[in-house]
């Protein structure tokens, strides 16, 4: 009897539509985030993460309505990330029904923003999203740096030190994306996940690179993470959430079945 490791499908949403496509067999509209969130909920997802990649202001109003609709029908935790820059942005998303918000680049521009957010709303709803890339070369001790702008822009910030600092500032959870792994289907960056999981006291969610179910197991067993996030393996019907959970359970990982 123990806390279950969480499986979190992730939806990338632009202007109120899920991008990267989602293929469920009998779903009417594969771009509707509400339908997709409901489907993952029915499959037994432990949580849903909704990353808003909308650039425009008008589009962001659409996002708020989408979050409201999901929250009215899906009764599992919902994390919303992307474009969270101010205390007002956080309040808007929480009032729309999000349970947590993920703060990414705004924390880099102003680390005190996380402190302010945690004091205002409580650490339990403040997730800091970290996009990291390995910068050490072969033969050197492993080292990762924070990157912004979709992995294009280095910041010079050490990823492990940054995670520790963000937790000290009040982050209640770390969403850790390996920019090296993202989209490669080669699995999570396990040493990175392990380094950060060991360094912080709060839960860590592994993200970036899942191509098969074994990667989820590796994330937990070797990366030491508390939750595993994946998008495409679920979206394209390669695997369902129950399949993932069964597979993990068979390998001795505690999951909610």
């Amino acid at each position: 009897m123990a806390l279950a490791k969480r499986i979190i499908p992730c939806l990338d949403v632009e202007n109120g539509r899920v991008v990267k496509g989602v293929n469920f067999v009998d779903i009417r509209d594969a771009g509707d985030p509400v339908e997709i969130a409901k489907r993952y909920n029915e499959q037994g997802a432990d949580e849903i993460t909704f990353l808003d990649i909308t650039a425009t202001h008008e589009g962001r109003d659409t996002t708020v309505h989408t979050v409201e609709k999901i929250a009215a029908e899906v009764f599992i935790p919902l994390t919303v990330g992307g474009g969270i820059r101010t205390v007002d942005d956080i309040r808007t998303m929480l009032n729309a029904g999000a349970d947590k918000v993920a703060i990414n680049s705004a924390a880099i521009h102003n680390p005190d923003f996380v402190k302010e957010a945690a004091e205002r709303f409580g650490s339990q709803c403040i997730v800091v999203a970290i996009d990291a890339k390995q910068v050490s070369t072969e033969g050197e001790p492993l080292r990762w740096e924070i990157f912004t702008h979709g992995g294009r822009k280095p910041t010079g910030i050490n990823a492990v030190e940054w995670a520790v600092k963000m937790v000290a500032n009040g982050a209640g959870e770390i969403l850790l994306t390996s920019m090296d792994g993202d989209g490669t289907k080669k699995g999570y960056d396990l040493p990175l996940n392990k380094a950060i999981s060991d360094a912080v006291s709060v839960p860590v969610i592994a993200s970036g690179g899942v191509g098969e179910l074994q990667h989820l197991v590796d994330g937990v067993k070797q990366g030491g993470v508390d939750a595993v996030l994946a998008a495409s393996i679920f979206h394209f019907g390669e695997h369902t959430v129950p399949e993932a959970k069964q597979f993990m359970a068979q390998q001795g990982i505690e999951v909610r079945l």
Partner: protein, 216 residues
């Protein structure tokens, strides 16, 4: 038949949208109101006492707005469900924020998990306790109706309830320590987990609450 009314007490702490929409979702003939108005709360058929965030801020608002009086009256008269920090606020005191006095409806205190928190296999456990853990029902109670023993519920908290009266415990959960995850007395029920975020099992608990006559 007239709709029954359930009031979700709003004292300015956090997001009550989830619990209100979950109640609306399960209750066919229920009018859900989110309010801080004492008269409306006392006039409701049943009451949810939620809470989120730090206990010192919660207690400060509870006292400033007179919610303590409202809760005392509700606790004496009608079915009440306290959730998460709402449950913690019913204890005598909390260790959070260097010690905060609470409402004292249940004997005992709210303790810190500890740093480091060590699990049964000598592993280091993360704090907050965040995610789906098993709720072990220790009594028969109408609120457990239709919910399987050891069902998983969603938790998120860094402090946990420990009552000094074991007869009041309705469920426990293990996370390095034995958490008193649900307490009950007469028409009052309190849960550390979030039923509004606990999918089918959580919705069942809320549905049971909406049907509950306040007897255990």
């Amino acid at each position: 038949m007239a709709k029954s009314t359930v009031a979700v007490i709003d004292y300015g702490m956090g997001n009550l949208h989830s619990v209100a929409s979950a109640l609306q979702h399960v209750g066919d003939n229920v009018n859900v109101i989110v309010t801080g108005d004492a008269e409306k709360i006392i006039a409701a058929d049943r009451v949810i006492f939620p809470g989120v965030g730090a206990i010192r801020d919660c207690m400060a608002e509870i006292l400033r707005l007179g919610v303590d009086q409202v809760v005392a009256e509700v606790a004496a008269t009608k079915p009440m469900l306290a959730i998460c920090v709402g449950m913690q606020a019913l204890m005598n005191s909390s260790e959070e924020n260097n010690g905060v006095n609470c409402l004292g409806l249940f004997p005992g205190e709210v303790k810190f998990f500890g740093d480091p928190l060590i699990g049964p296999d000598n592993e280091k456990l993360k704090v907050p306790h965040m995610g789906w853990n098993q709720l072990h029902q220790t009594i028969d109670h109408p609120l457990w109706s239709g919910i399987e023993q050891d069902s998983r519920f969603y938790f998120v908290h860094s402090y946990y309830v420990h009552t000094t009266d074991p007869a009041l415990v309705a469920a426990t959960t293990d996370y390095g320590v034995n958490i008193h995850a649900a307490l009950y007395r007469d028409n009052v029920f309190a849960a550390q987990c979030h039923p509004e975020k606990s999918s089918t099992a959580g919705l069942q608990l809320l549905d049971n609450f909406l049907r509950w006559d306040g007897q255990s």
